[in-house]
């Protein structure tokens, strides 16, 4: 490729501006404008692409609504009830609270589409519970919370999978179904590791909850536990579109928090709207920038060129997936997840399709990969978050998270090379792929 072509210079500009600390959305818009300018094209095209792209991407509306649903569900008393329910289930095992942390993440994953929402919601509570009376070291508790939060966006609903649905033109419904088994698998892998560590480090057991207490604890958590059921039920019965299901889920979450648990008042309602707006704006700006830059990428025919080059190597689908995984894992250490999904993954997609890799499978693999990036040093967002919540030095959390990273990468390998694990559920619901 010519190093002084408009495209090369524009890409260089985006990289340099981002490295120098400009918000990534702005960097992509600015770089694309530079491209249009140097290529002698109409510079108004940037605005045209951005406006029309945002105006016609109806599926993206699910993002603010899923954020809103998680905000409504994230109130203290709902979390307490969920934790009590999880404790009744798995607290009696050795390393009980550690298992509770994972099970809680799996259940909360069915309500929220964001790992950050999960860590912010339960992170603080779990940290206090686990470190009380010196049961677990703060570093282990923080590492575990970071690792278990990753499950959130893999089990539906999932914001990254909505973004992938947009860039790949794949059905959100099938993608969500594809995330179920991998999400559970990650959870089980973490629990297996906890069971092993618990015996070696002699983790404490929680006082068992008597069996006759179980129905009461379950009943108190019931309205919250129903949320994933309602959400998925609406989507797969075909009653609503995924986007409408997101709105219905947010509405249900609001009803449950306001009327059943009485844990949310007007002030919290406004605060939830505000938090959701803020998060929507920052993700939205990134998407807006990516829409403009993806136009440039398409004009330059980049994905097809790469696909043609790779085709000459006659890769097998497995080799491609292996290389894609390695690339995404490395990029995930340095780049932010949404950016990878919006810029890098679309470039890989035509090659994946040409090689016969299933788009739903590829999407779930890519998202699991990007989620693992959230807990990989040096640029693991969830690690920074837990440093703040738990007040533990980063290097201590990193030491304790390495075994979790190990089992999660093993699970990723399994998901990558056994596509049936991902595709089994979507096919059951009629996915032809």
């Amino acid at each position: 490729m010519n190093p002084t072509s408009p495209f090369s210079l524009a890409t260089l500009a985006i990289v340099v501006l981002s490295l120098f600390g400009l918000p990534i959305g702005h960097a992509m818009i600015a770089g694309s404008v530079l491209y249009l300018w140097m290529a002698g094209l109409d510079m108004g095209t940037a605005a045209e692409q951005l406006l029309n792209g945002m105006y016609t991407s109806y599926v993206l509306l699910a993002i603010p609504l899923f954020i809103l649903a998680a905000e409504f569900m994230n109130s203290g008393s709902i979390m307490d009830r969920l934790l009590r329910f999880c404790n009744a289930l798995v607290g009696r095992w050795r390393g009980g609270l550690a298992h509770v942390n994972v099970v809680q993440s799996i259940i909360f994953a069915g309500m929220s589409g964001s790992a950050l929402a999960d860590a912010a919601g339960s992170g603080k509570i779990m940290q206090i519970l686990m470190t009380k009376d010196g049961k677990y070291t703060p570093a282990f508790a923080a590492a575990l919370t970071a690792a278990s939060s990753v499950i959130g966006p893999i089990i539906p609903p999932s914001i990254p999978l909505v973004i992938y649905a947009l860039v790949s033109d794949t059905s959100i419904g099938y993608l969500f179904l594809g995330g179920v088994v991998p999400g559970l698998l990650l959870g089980f892998a973490q629990m297996a590791l906890i069971a092993y560590t618990a015996r070696r480090r002699n983790f404490p057991v929680e006082p068992p909850v008597p069996v006759r207490e179980l129905p009461r604890v379950a009943w108190q958590a019931f309205p919250a536990l129903m949320m994933p059921v309602i959400l998925l039920g609406l989507m797969y019965s075909g009653v609503t579109t995924p986007t409408e299901a997101a709105a219905a889920a947010a509405f249900y979450a609001l009803l449950v928090s306001a009327l059943v648990y009485r844990s949310i008042g007007w002030r919290d309602f406004h605060q939830s709207l505000m938090n959701s707006a803020r998060m929507t704006i920052s993700i939205g700006m990134l998407i807006a920038g990516a829409i403009v830059f993806n136009y440039v990428i398409t004009v330059e025919n980049i994905p097809k060129t790469i696909s043609a080059v790779l085709k000459a190597y006659e890769l097998s689908p497995f080799t491609f997936l292996l290389l894609a995984n390695l690339l995404l894992l490395v990029l995930g250490c340095f780049l932010e997840g949404t950016t990878i999904l919006l810029i890098i993954v679309p470039v890989m997609l035509p090659t994946a399709q040409a090689l016969g890799v299933d788009p739903v499978h590829f999407g779930v693999v890519a998202v699991v990969n990007i989620m693992i990036g959230l807990i990989t040093p040096p640029y693991g967002l969830l690690l920074f978050m837990m440093v703040k919540i738990a007040d533990v030095p980063l290097k201590d959390i990193v030491r304790d998270i390495l075994p979790f990273l190990g089992v999660m990468i093993a699970a990723l390998a399994l998901i990558t090379f056994v596509p049936e694990l991902v595709l089994f559920l979507p096919r059951l619901f009629g996915y032809q792929g």
């Binding site: 600390g21 108004g44 940037a46 609504l65 803020r278």
Partner: protein, 168 residues
Amino acid sequence: MRAVGAWLRRRAENVAAAMIGVMFVAFIIQIVFRYLFNFPIGWSSELTVIMWLWLVLWGAAFVVRESDEIRFDLLSGAMGKRARIAMGIITAVALVVLYAASFPATWKYVTFMKVERTAYLGIRFDWLFSIYLAFAAAVIVRYLWILSHLLRGEEPEQVDLTKSSSGL
């Protein structure tokens, strides 16, 4: 001056919260009408898409603080103060020049869109898309302001790492 700025920003936040609220309510109305009354309405989905577009650009222009935005800060975080200021000046100048250079063509595109209206609500597209002009203008002004601080040797505010990402 600072108090006025803070007051305006809070009102801008209220508007953003209201927009996401409208989006939420419009969706609920749409579902109720379609499935309970068997009466599909089109304006609600149009309204939600408009709210989405406006929320993002309005928010990026008037609501987000520098510390809220998604950026890559491994490098800038590791640099000394002088280097950070130099990097800030370069990015601010580049952004202002490029947004300003594309402004006339953008203006032309947006005003040209007056010939079209949205399907249900009949809103003229030049009005609908004018938010981009406000966004671009606000970004140019904000970065000129940042630039003026940087040129006086004042450091940009420290970025909070946990807030600098989309937080999937």
